[in-house]
Assembly symmetry: C2
Homo-oligomer: 414 residues x 2
């Protein structure tokens, strides 16, 4: 079992009402386990389409994962079609009925005919219990090939993949170990990083592969180690991770899927310290990113979003003379913002940002994308100037992530 | 020409590194023009896969749209494979070469072999100029069927669809008029809305269809009118839009793709008024949504993100007695936040939010998801209590959108 195909069923996918995010998630899970996804096919809720697509996939690969078309309404026909395809009939599953009844009554709702219909399953399938919803998943075997049908709701699909499908795949690919390590970097470009890692890549042992996964300024380096000896894979990969830390220590900020706001929170929590923010052009974006981290109230105090110069003066208490002398977008102003915020919020650190997000407001001396960032602490203030892009949303996002990164570097340098 | 298929090419789609958002966008554009998408197929950058998928699609439909595999690197083989498939050879296109040279030199870069390779196109194709990137798109005809190959970069694909493919489709479906009207609603549920619109739906004239497109609390009602007489389609649809306004005036907030933050900005700009925000549990989300609107500095002054009670007292200037007596999440506190913010920011309106986003911090009296929202104006303060969900991100987002909606209602009521 080394290849698979994915079939996603639903008219909503073809008319563009829903973006198919399930396939990418399943593709990543399968490829991380050494199974190559050959094709992803999206089709409508029509009997002939389902049968044709399944026929074609089963001619090519030994594993077919299907999502969608298992809901309680009349346009969901996947279950009936699969029963027909595998020459079996629908029977009531007491186990599924109990599960559905339990879910429905827990929400103080009445069981109806549609709910009962969900407990009917093809007689020859193995039911894969769905504790995340009311539609059961089903596993069929045919001439040594495996077909799994799951609901299209992403949370339910993921539940069934984690509970049933991925453990089955791991036991079938038996013995072969695959270990992933994700190294998170910020503050560089993919081409630049590839240049610095050219020698590293050339010397990589055969059992370890490297992938660059860039996303909004963060570049995730994914090392995939595989082999038959788990301990050897683990040790070999660990050596490569250590090597990465020695080659690019300046841009690595963490591991796994950690974000800049999460690592900042972790560092502050470890040091029992706090931070506040004073934002102009980011307009609350930094505060919003920080407060999306659960538990951030333990280390984050708040923000003054000084979109207007009167707020910079009136609420933050910045000397209006600084703004009129140097301008709202200047080193002097951003330093004053950080110092004043730290003082009024009584925090260990304060981060400040002021800049021109665009599309208007640029001048020849200070074009759109000009941004000043500062971090204040007991040790004083550091400030940085950046020139980002023409695009407002990109400027806001890159200002916010660079501010968080400057704060991170400031905390670890102390 | 009434059906099509989409083929997306790229290993990154199959291993889940990239979510295929192109297909949904193309599917929507095609279905809006009366063309049914039969299938979406994602395949790898392999010659045999491309040929097999194209063969299959051309057996089923008269129009095939292909994206991906047109980049300058060696793993991009779509162009070579298409030349082989259509029995033609690659020739240098002076037109494309000029376009590429222009783009490269404008960025002060040197033309290299890879750039020149992009100007090689299959001799029998019609080149569709790409003003959004360096890879040209190509149109092939074979036995009355049309095949279009476009770059996989979403902005380039959309550019080529708008410039070349969609106009071609409109001219081919000739004479048939399709007009869309999008009515934006907020503050209700899909099931509830469907109930209120049951009679409306039953009485819809045959030439107008209604679709519900829910997304994060906003439900877009899309009316699609189609017919041979443009004026009749337009008029019939306009009558239905007016009917919608009379049935559900309380939940419609605008048309087309307008957001709540955009409509609030438009109303304030029209009235020459301003707003500020004081946020606790939303942690800067409202400020961030507002300042993502270009030009918002004309009507938005700023925010105090009072994540900590000391900021509520020290910066906002709320009487600490109110917080200790009624709690940070209370009607009294949210009213004081709105009033104080309006006063210190000197704005016409101020919006305040305080609540328990979770996952921790809930009590039996004030469970996670409890949120107070207030709007202050010269006329006084209105406040609302909500009980949202268990999920932190959902609570933040729903608090922010409901606050913007309360502000909107408050502005139009005056």
């Amino acid at each position: 079992m080394n290849s698979a195909e994915i079939i996603t069923i639903g008219d909503e996918l073809l008319i563009g009402q829903t973006v198919d995010t399930n396939s990418a998630w399943m593709g990543m899970q399968l490829s991380m386990r050494g199974i190559q996804v050959n094709r992803i096919v999206s089709i409508s809720d029509r009997r002939e389409e389902i049968i044709a697509a399944l026929d074609e996939s089963l001619r090519r690969v030994p594993l077919v994962l299907i999502t969608g078309g298992l809901g309680p309404t009349s346009d969901d026909i996947t279950k009936e079609t699969l029963a027909e395809y595998f020459g079996t009939k629908l029977v009531m599953s007491q186990e599924v009925l109990d599960e559905v009844t339990n879910r429905i009554t827990r929400r103080n709702l009445e069981m109806n005919e549609n709910n009962r219909r969900q407990a009917m399953v093809p007689e020859s399938c193995r039911v894969l219990a769905n504790h995340a919803g009311t539609a059961p998943a089903m596993l069929f075997e045919k001439e040594g090939r495996i077909i799994v049908s799951m609901p299209g709701v992403p949370s339910e699909m993921k539940h069934i993949m984690h509970e049933h499908v991925l453990p089955m795949i791991s036991s079938m690919t038996g013995g072969h170990t695959i270990i992933h390590r994700n190294i998170m970097t910020f503050g560089t470009f993919e081409a630049k990083l590839a240049e610095r890692l050219e020698g590293f890549e050339k010397e990589l042992p055969a059992m370890v592969k490297l992938a660059y996964l860039p996303s909004h300024g963060v570049i995730k380096l994914r090392l995939t180690g595989s082999g038959d000896d788990p301990e050897l894979v683990r040790r070999t990969e660990e050596e490569q991770v250590r090597k990465l830390y020695s080659i690019i220590p300046d841009v690595i900020y963490g591991e796994d899927e950690i974000t800049l706001e999460e690592i900042v929170g972790k560092l502050l929590l470890d040091n029992n310290q706090t931070v506040s923010t004073a934002e102009s052009c980011t307009g609350g974006k930094i505060a919003s990113m920080i407060t999306s981290v659960p538990g951030s109230s333990a280390w984050y105090r708040g923000s003054v979003v000084a979109y207007d110069n009167n707020i910079k003066a009136g609420v933050l208490g910045i000397d209006p003379g600084i703004i009129s002398r140097y301008g709202a977008v200047s080193e002097e102003t951003v330093r004053a913002m950080a110092e004043r915020m730290r003082s009024i919020a009584e925090t260990d650190y304060a981060v400040a940002v002021t800049g021109i997000a665009g599309p208007t407001g640029g001048t020849p001396e200070k074009p759109v994308g000009t941004v000043w960032i500062a971090v204040a602490s007991a040790a004083g203030v550091v400030a940085e100037k950046h020139l980002f892009a023409d695009d407002r949303q990109i400027n806001i996002f890159r200002s916010a992530t660079n501010a968080l990164n400057l704060l991170r570097k400031h905390i670890i340098s102390r």
